[in-house]
């Protein structure tokens, strides 16, 4: 027996209470609920009893998650978290493999040249960087950053902007993401990794700058290059995984 509109709306209401974030997961569970309820109704059970029986099977689930602190989530949310952690693990290993591949490819020559050029020409007005000349290092860093961004954009796929629109960055623009649950698990995992790797490098650098710890010219050069390397590799990874995104049809709605 097919569910009518009112019954479907009731199931949708129940799902929205769970605050699910991932569209892929939402769709799968929503279909599971509807199919199970329809099958039960075919066997002569009324809608509300069927709905109740179906959701009871999910009620006892529990999963530990870490959002800064360890908490527990239950029911559908627990199931969603367990799926997220499986994909998160996979994406992490794939991303690190991608970085390693870049490191051992001929492209590494490009980065070695970048280090040499920077060392030779960029910081020749001072030998060490400290707070005394941080004004200059900030300005220098800013322009280097902008040029790397342009470089990364130029060297990436021409459909990069499209890919960004469809990627995790959309998450930053969309405020009602929980309500419509339109985000792919893989995107969130990649976004998290990207922010984490960039922040690690910046914080590491800031840490030394704040302590007024003299940073030698060569280590600064390596730092900045490492930053650029991670940045452009991540952009390349995001562009590459665009196909990976497409096959789960997340954004076609």
């Amino acid at each position: 027996m097919k569910l009518n509109k009112i019954q479907i709306a009731e199931i949708e209401g129940y799902f929205s209470d769970w605050n699910l974030v991932y569209k892929e997961f939402y769709d799968e569970m929503f279909d599971h609920y509807c199919t199970e309820i329809e099958t039960k109704m075919d066997n002569g059970i009324d809608f509300h009893t069927a709905f109740n029986e179906t959701h009871q099977q999910f009620e006892n689930l529990e999963e530990k998650v870490s959002w800064g602190e360890i908490t527990r989530v239950y029911g559908l949310k627990a199931l969603e978290s367990s799926q997220y952690s499986a994909v998160d693990k996979k994406v992490k290993s794939e991303y690190f493999k991608f970085i390693l591949k870049q490191l051992f490819s001929p492209r590494i020559l490009f980065w070695i040249i970048v280090i040499i050029v920077q060392y030779k020409f960029l910081y020749n007005q001072f030998d060490i960087i400290s707070l005394e000349n941080s004004k200059w290092s900030f300005l220098g860093g800013f322009f280097i950053g902008i040029s790397y961004l342009l470089l990364a954009l130029t060297f990436s796929n021409s459909s990069l902007i499209d890919s960004l629109k469809n990627s995790s960055f959309k998450f930053l623009l969309n405020t009602s993401f929980k309500k419509d649950a339109r985000f792919g698990i893989r995107k969130i995992a990649i976004l998290k990794l990207f922010i984490f790797s960039i922040l690690t490098i910046i914080l590491f650098f800031e840490f030394f700058a704040l302590l007024n710890f003299p940073i030698s010219k060569i280590s600064l050069t390596v730092f900045v290059t490492l930053f650029a390397f991670i940045f452009s590799t991540t952009i390349a990874y995001l562009t590459k995984t665009k196909l990976f995104f497409k096959d789960i049809n997340i954004l076609k709605i």
């Binding site: 929503f30 279909d31 599971h32 199919t35 199931l79 367990s82 499986a86 994909v87 996979k90």
Partner: protein, 110 residues
Amino acid sequence: MNQHLKGSLSTIILKLLHDNGRMYGYEITQKVKELTQDDIQITEGALYPILHKLEAEEVLTAETEKVDGRVRKYYKITPKGNAVAVDRIAELKAFAENLNLILNPKLSLS
């Protein structure tokens, strides 16, 4: 039944997908129920984490299709996962046979 099922559930899922091509989550639970005449009931809390883990490991791949206005997610074994599936099914079969020898020693003598 549940404690015996735990370790072999992923192999049972692989066997079903191996025999039936592609299936969706609810269909898998119903198929197991039907084959075992209601003796084994896979819970959703056990089924989906395994499906998602196998998908992340690329043993399974998923495709979606619109059915009755809803998005249905079908799972099937990848070419890479096929070898894994065949291996695990053979292992479980051998285990079940050995288990039978232990549980029914008289039968094994005849």
